[in-house]
Symmetry: C2
Subunit: 308 residues, 2 copies
Amino acid sequence: MHAFTSVPTGRAAATLALALLPALAGAGPAAAKPTLADVIKASKASDWRPLDAEHTLYLEIPAGRVVIEIAPAFAPRHVANIKALVRERYYDGLAILRSQDNWVVQWGDPDEKNPKPMKTAQRTLAGEFTVPLKSAGAFTRLPDRDGYAAQVGHSNGFPSARDPKSGTAWLAHCYGTVGVGRDNASDSGGGAELYAVIGHAPRHLDRNITVIGRVVAGMPLLSTLPRGAAAMGFYDQPGKNVPISAIRLAADVAPAERSHIEVMRTETATYQAAVEAQRNRGGPWSKVAAGYVELCNAPIPVREQAGN
Amino acid sequence: MHAFTSVPTGRAAATLALALLPALAGAGPAAAKPTLADVIKASKASDWRPLDAEHTLYLEIPAGRVVIEIAPAFAPRHVANIKALVRERYYDGLAILRSQDNWVVQWGDPDEKNPKPMKTAQRTLAGEFTVPLKSAGAFTRLPDRDGYAAQVGHSNGFPSARDPKSGTAWLAHCYGTVGVGRDNASDSGGGAELYAVIGHAPRHLDRNITVIGRVVAGMPLLSTLPRGAAAMGFYDQPGKNVPISAIRLAADVAPAERSHIEVMRTETATYQAAVEAQRNRGGPWSKVAAGYVELCNAPIPVREQAGN
């Protein structure tokens, strides 16, 4: 049966569960048009960048480590506040409180009545739902039309969108996107409570909430958490909350204990080839080319750094 | 904290985990524009249809029952073959063999060397990747433009797409879509091996594989399965496979043991209001209306039948 004719999909897939390898069946004999696996195999070292230790969070839960890349360009005040929260060890001992199927997991302070005090960090900030175009840095636009935004593409490895009319840019809600929970008021969040998308991209949240980054490794540790039985997927008993032992900035972790991950540079020709391999898939399995790639369907290859 | 200001989201959400309730925070005071919860609350009995017992499969695994609605109009030969497989108890004792993050779970015969014999069913069939428009039945088109197809909308509760030029229609790959695994050849599947989408909609699979239906209840039982450690998310040891005690057609199950589920009729004005509540969300939480809904982001409300 085809299920067992799988070809090895490379170290990236074997070691990092977030690698978005699209094969449903084995790749079989080589075809003229490259597959994503072919593109990754042919990539050069310069097509990849290591994570910046100052922009990387480790969320430590019983099942292991979730690695989050943060994007200061898109939420400078929230990223600074979250780094302050990390460094005052605010998150250590908090918990994942919510797991709603095809939606989000969310973590924060389980004790509503006696909220954990903060030292230097701020409890709330004005929302950073969009930033001025000039602050958003590099942008590699996808030619594919998007329903939610005038322009979509990638900004240094983050799926992002732009509206030239209003002169704004923002990070898109895709699988793995991490954002800042808030109440009804735009300024009611500050980073004490965060969520990660574990289902189909909820793009209608774009520009409604502050996005601070994305999970680059360890998504299965979040996506397989038991769903909460209370409304909106909250756990119905405190004993079901998933404890967070710590959130650390990679730069504050001893080098020997860091995760060594690299992300394909989204501004490269190699990345364009990777996206094209998804838009019009190569290999003998595909029969009809989509001729299109939707932003959150564009894979962003991630792998362990060579030598680690 | 906002996380705890949640309002009850109704019986549907409490009892059926697939209900796609979009709230990240509580709904708070009533706003002029209705939310999806408002639309569901105001719906009439006639806005809902029960599942047809002849078109409903129960996949029974240790964690419970997954309810799959099948769509004979879109894959008549495969649906007939799968019903034959169910009735000869082919699936009973097989297993879920694969769980790949943000992709699919897949089930079939774990014994590649000694495949389980079939009685009346066929092992392979010609692919039914599309059907003629005239065979596809009712279609309620979304006004929203789609990147993957000329027209998208719903066909009796299934997300579907159409191409008037070629005169074809097909079911779209959204979260929960169920299809027929195959090898490289278009005619190499038959329904002995099936998959369900557990991640972001892989719409590039549309028209490349036979889709036979969608999960309407029990998605968390599949989406939270441990991910497989072998290539493409296959379990790396037989002991990790998830045993299937049975797949049954609801019509063959004693009425007292059936799941009593109803789905909002997608051809109704109420459903149009539900989609609009997602396209331009009501309630005090949303600040910017998306003005657009992507096919797989259009919720299809499901609930337990009244009195059950």
